[in-house]
């Protein structure tokens, strides 16, 4: 076993991202054999995390951190304890074989490099998720798994079904991720800690907080969507559109367990409350039953496995929700067992599909002679899934029955749910692992034969691990299950596992009932399938269709809003913009009752009065003007008068600019008017004029109020003193305004002139569009007219 090296953890988490960068080139050179060297990456990561096992099993934890965004307290920090170690080992260990399997499964595929690249990206994100200590970092990795899952499900992006499934998974898990972010922010707010390890040390702070319920619901929102709990379970079966290596890795062994991981992670600080012990078992139990029943109905190997994955996740949530030590131990064991057998079975299903050309269970049979190694792996994994000895699945089932049977409340109900769920699980295990291989040989689309080593090495190793873990039950419990249980409880836990039950106890009898029930149901599988199918047909509606309806509703609402707010009518835009501006200026002082005092009337000289009179005259002329052109010019008069006032009160720069702006405004407005063929007069009815008049007056009044308020608040002279003092001394300029623009605040100006350029481009584009439309209309009339109209477009 390698020694523990916490400092290398950051490298270990980032290594898959590096592998993602080189994978396409490796595949270009080595073809599908690139999987062999590439699989070394997850293998070395596995070795790295294996180094923690002995320390962690003795109760040690490791943290390692590196600064990332120190201003916001975000750091690349990692926390290694029993929970993260087992998860990291599963991810990197199964990941090693998934990479190999992907090498064989997509052999010769033109995009194999890209596929491996996506897989590595996901692996890095998932490793980061389970080891991250910083909550924000955890969230980022969480969303990265959603995004990489989107890429992988939509890998075959030319098929509409793949695209829909990818988008659905992204929307459901990404939406849940946002809830999780909100939950994390609340946790940070309440505990004042951003590192998970410190939050876990906060004891009852979160449980005792008034905001416990929102935190609980938001974290649940993230966990339930990610771990496909009813009613969010629908995206997981649809995700089977992805190539099989993805289904085996993301949608059974790792990513969908992220939600369970999160629940287990926060269990010490959020778990154990009444609502926790009500909501989680309820949703988990429903998910378990719905998942298994829907699985029985399927005939596609992958879909059967997918629905049992939903069911298993439900079982895990149910057990985590009991907050009972023995049930939690069952959850940990089952999680471990499930990753091994489900990953193996998915790969088997993929191999059958690959070699026999179909994965419809009704069209398969008698494959054991043609595919002996695959059959062996399938049988071993299937027995573990069925919960039969001597496999880890059996021990997990025993422990979890022990846990549910011993619950202080609801023991009977949860035990019955667990027994029915496990019996149906056995049915599926038999249907997937036994049925395709026994019976008479059936003619399959492809002539079936054993797959290459790349395809069978993964399932064989994973299913053998399931056997070995059970054979060495004591070691498994001591090294992996115990430390992980300690993380869940928040206090040290000792786990003693035995493969062979010492005495006849309730769990053993429950196991026998489960097996008997399962066998009976398996023999009636076809009839059961028919019954469930007819029930579903009678219900007709499901969350999957509900998702489509929600998406359609969102599209409809946004279309309505767009039509309402962006109808393409300039006048509406202007009125809306100015009405909002006016409201923003006037409402706050009105609501707070803080209008500025009326200033003392200043003494004006006669020429100042004259200039003001000109401004008022110009304004009046705008209002009474008969034609638009007169109004535009009158507005210019008012503007010039104001600019003169600036000059008189000692702001030459401002006045200078104002003159130029007024001049150009008049020119541009006049040009726009002629250009857009506006009628020379304003023909709007009085009502419309009144509305715009009120809006204009309120904006004007709002700005006047703001200016008055600004001048009445005490003047902070520090900035002007600074500029007066330094503009000559360090910027070598006497014109302070200019020095500020080009030197002190030069970076702002750079942004502003970039905006000016973009505005110019946008206006140019708008004018072009208009010209082209005209050209189009004109060309329909006569060629000559079209020529003259298109000319401006050509003449740059």
């Amino acid at each position: 076993m390698t020694p523990a090296a916490p400092d290398m953890t950051i490298l270990a988490v980032l290594a898959p991202f590096a592998a993602a960068a080189i994978a396409p080139f490796a595949v270009r050179i080595l073809k599908h054999n690139a999987a062999w060297p590439l699989a070394l990456v997850p293998f070395l990561i596995f070795a790295h995390f294996a180094g923690f096992v002995s320390g962690v099993s003795q109760g040690q934890t490791f943290t390692v951190a590196r600064e990332w965004v120190p201003a916001y307290g975000v750091s690349l920090s990692f926390y290694i304890d029993g929970l993260s170690t087992l998860f990291a080992l599963l991810i990197s260990g199964i990941g090693t074989f998934i990479i190999l399997y992907a090498g064989g499964y997509l052999k010769g595929h033109p995009q194999q490099g890209r596929f491996l690249s996506f897989l590595f990206l996901f692996m890095g994100a998932m490793l980061g998720l389970v080891t991250a200590d910083n909550l924000i970092t955890l969230f980022i990795f969480w969303e990265l798994t959603s995004i990489t899952s989107f890429l992988l499900i939509g890998f075959d992006h030319l098929r509409a079904a793949s695209r829909r499934a990818a988008l659905q998974a992204l929307l459901v898990t990404g939406g849940g991720g946002l809830a999780l972010l909100a939950g994390f922010l609340l946790i940070i707010q309440i505990t004042g800690e951003i590192e998970m390890s410190k939050v876990l040390a906060s004891g009852d702070v979160l449980r005792g907080s008034a905001l416990y319920l929102p935190v609980f619901l938001l974290v649940l929102g993230g966990a339930f969507t990610k771990s496909a709990q009813f009613p969010f379970h629908f995206w997981l079966p649809n995700a089977m559109e992805a190539p099989t290596p993805v289904s085996a890795f993301l949608h059974s062994a790792t990513m969908v367990k992220a939600g369970v991981y999160l629940l287990m992670r926060v269990h010490p600080v959020l778990g154990g409350t009444d609502i926790w012990m009500t909501v989680l078992p309820l949703f988990g139990g429903v998910t378990l039953l719905v998942g298994t029943l829907l699985a029985v109905r399927q005939t596609d190997l992958k879909l059967m496995l997918a629905y049992t994955t939903v069911a298993s996740l439900g079982l895990l949530v149910m057990l985590t929700g009991t907050s009972n030590e023995k049930a939690l131990e069952g959850a940990v064991l089952y999680l471990f067992a499930h990753s091994l057998f489900k990953g193996a079975l998915f790969m088997v299903a993929g191999t059958i599909d690959h070699e026999a050309g179909t994965r419809d269970v009704t069209k398969l049979g008698g494959l054991r002679k043609a595919m002996p190694i695959t059959f062996a792996a399938a049988a071993l994994a299937g027995l573990s899934m069925a919960g039969l000895p001597p496999f880890i699945g059996f021990i997990a089932k025993e422990v979890l029955y022990y846990g549910t049977w011993g619950l202080p409340q609801g023991a009977m109900l949860l035990t019955v749910v667990a027994v029915i769920g496990n019996a149906l699980m056995l049915v599926i295990a038999a249907a997937v692992a036994i049925k395709p291989f026994f019976g008479p040989e059936v003619h399959t689309p492809k002539h079936a034969h054993e797959g290459p080593v790349l395809l069978w090495v993964g399932p064989v190793v994973l299913s053998l691990t399931g056997l070995a873990a059970a054979m060495m039950a004591h070691t498994t419990g001591e090294l992996f299950i115990g430390p992980m249980l300690s993380s869940l409880k928040g206090t040290p836990a000792i786990v003693e596992l035995h493969l062979i039950p010492g005495y006849i106890s309730a769990p053993l009898i429950l196991s026998i009932i489960t097996v008997a029930l399962g066998v009976v149901l398996f023999l009636q599988l076809d009839r059961l399938r028919g019954i469930i199918a007819s029930i579903l047909a009678a219900i007709g509606w499901g969350p999957d269709r509900g998702f489509d309806q929600v998406v359609a509703a969102i599209v409809w609402i946004s279309a309505v809003v767009t039509r309402l707010l962006q109808g393409g009518k300039m006048q509406t835009y202007m009125v809306l913009t100015f009405a909002v501006t006016g409201a923003a200026l006037l409402l706050p002082p009105y609501l707070m009752g803080s209008f500025p005092a009326v200033p003392a009337w200043p003494e004006f000289r006669f020429y100042e009065w004259a200039v003001i009179a000109i401004a008022v005259l110009g304004l009046g002329a705008v209002l009474v003007a008969k034609t638009r052109l007169t109004a535009i010019v009158s507005l210019g008069i008012q503007g010039f008068a104001v600019a003169t006032l600036f000059m008189l009160f000692g702001a030459p720069d401002l006045s200078f600019t104002q003159f130029m702006i007024e001049t150009l405004s008049v020119v541009v407005l006049a040009l726009v008017m002629t250009r857009l063929n506006l009628s020379p007069r304003d023909h709007r009815p009085f009502g419309a004029k009144l509305v715009t008049g009120i809006v204009a007056a309120s904006v004007g009044a709002g700005f006047a109020l703001v200016l008055m308020a600004v001048t009445q608040s005490p003047f902070d002279a520090r900035l002007s003193e600074f500029f007066t003092q330094y503009s000559r001394a360090i910027a070598h300029g006497r014109n302070i305004v200019n020095v500020i623009i080009v030197d002190f605040r030069g970076f702002d100006t750079l942004g502003e002139i970039a905006v000016v350029v973009l505005t110019g481009l946008a206006v140019l584009g708008l004018i072009r569009i208009q010209t082209k439309t005209h050209a189009g209309e004109a060309s329909a009339k006569t060629t000559k007219a079209a020529k003259s109209a298109r000319k401006p477009v050509e003449a740059r």
Binding site: L664, V667, V668, G733, I741, P792
Partner: protein
Amino acid sequence: MRTVIFRTFAPFITALMVLFSIFVLLRGHNEPGGGFIGGLIAASALAIYGISAGVGPARRALKAHPMSIAAFGLLLAALSGLLSLFTRQAFMTSQWVTIDFLGVAVDLSTPMFFDIGVYLVVVGAIGSIALALEERESD
């Protein structure tokens, strides 16, 4: 708009305005003026020339498309800020050089080039909008 008087005087007015705009631009650091105002004056000059002589001649007189002038101005402004990086100072730290030109001490500085960039951006962007709007009148 195209009276004989306007057509005759417009080129002179334009020339004077452009000259004045450059004067305003360069004196901006010490007296009222600067790139923004200079640019606005020059843009007005361009608009006047476009109205009097037609957009085609105005564009030909410019040689380059006004939008490329604006883009060049933006590039110049950004590059002038980069010079300070060679002296291991922060982006946009102003650099000053005084050179002796025919016996007159001339201050050259990065803010000056920055201001020229602002000028070009304003001329280019406003000018191209004005010319584009005038376009149909010139047919």
